[in-house]
């Protein structure tokens, strides 16, 4: 059953990372489609583009932006962790690397989020 991909009760952080990776992957894929559609407005001239920008880039949408950012950062950093393991390296240190991954994700996200916050809030 599909819920088993996101089952974390009684399981280790490794399963959490797996669930999250899968979830963020799906979210990012949907976002990619939206993003491409959205950019089409560029072709219809300045007004339609700026209308869409004003619709999405504003303080009210900031939480969504931040979540999206988290998804991106997590998917990227965790992806690199997976690449390392899947090439057969440092298996024995997998717990340490997992903690490190979560740490890096948090730091990068907080920092980038802060920058974004500054940008949007002016």
């Amino acid at each position: 059953m599909l819920v088993d991909w996101f089952r974390i009760k009684g399981r280790s952080l490794h399963s959490l990372a797996f669930s999250f990776h899968r979830l963020t992957g799906i979210v990012l894929m949907i976002y990619l489609i939206l993003h491409l559609t959205y950019l089409t407005s560029l072709r219809f001239g300045k007004e339609s583009y700026e209308y869409l920008i004003s619709l999405t880039v504003r303080p009210e949408t900031l939480p969504f932006d931040l979540l999206l950012l988290l998804a991106t950062v997590f998917h990227g950093v965790n992806g690199i962790r997976l690449v390392i393991h899947e090439l057969g390296f440092v298996y024995e240190k997998r717990n340490l690397i997992l903690y490190l991954t979560f740490g890096i994700v948090l730091i990068v996200w907080l920092y980038a989020g802060y920058l974004m916050f500054l940008l949007i809030m002016g």
């Binding site: 894929m29 690449v83 899947e86 090439l87 002016g122």
Partner: protein, 148 residues
């Protein structure tokens, strides 16, 4: 006479029938090979290696993409976007980015779908579908790059 056990999910018969039609169960090697039709069999390792390396590239691409678009308030202005997209070097890089991101995304989707019984039953369809979607989105994105 009834069979004692039935064929189980992976296409392996575990039983001999009884009395009249005694058929000894075989390893069903042919069955296994048949199941993995040529295209999917070759596709899997390539897809995996691609996913791995495209992932690394994307980490770099996406980071710089976000960095550039969120550098300052000007970055998202219509004029600056158009100006950026008019540069032919950037155009090439963005096209590459587009190809990789589309394949990575829909190859990911393909992997997820194949993780299910639905994917098992419709493996060819899933492969084809994901390929088509990624090509369509690449073409779609490319029209944007061309129009400037």
């Amino acid at each position: 006479m009834k069979e004692v056990k039935n064929v189980n999910v992976i296409g392996l018969t575990i039983t001999g029938k009884t009395e009249d039609d005694r058929v000894v169960r075989s390893d069903n090697d042919s069955n296994i090979n048949e199941e993995n039709k040529m295209d999917t069999k070759k596709l899997e390792p390539i897809a995996f290696i691609f996913q791995l390396f495209s992932g690394i590239l994307l980490a770099v691409f996406v980071a710089s993409h976000i960095y550039i678009t969120h550098l300052n308030e000007e970055a998202l202005k219509y004029e600056s976007v158009v100006e950026r997209l008019s540069n032919s070097t950037i155009k090439v890089i963005y096209f590459l980015f587009l190809v990789i991101v589309c394949f990575h995304a829909f190859n990911g989707l393909r992997a997820i779908l194949l993780d299910t019984n639905f994917g098992k039953r419709n493996a060819r369809m899933v492969n084809l579908l994901c390929l088509i979607i990624s090509i369509v989105s690449i073409l779609y994105g490319a029209t944007l790059l061309i129009s400037f």
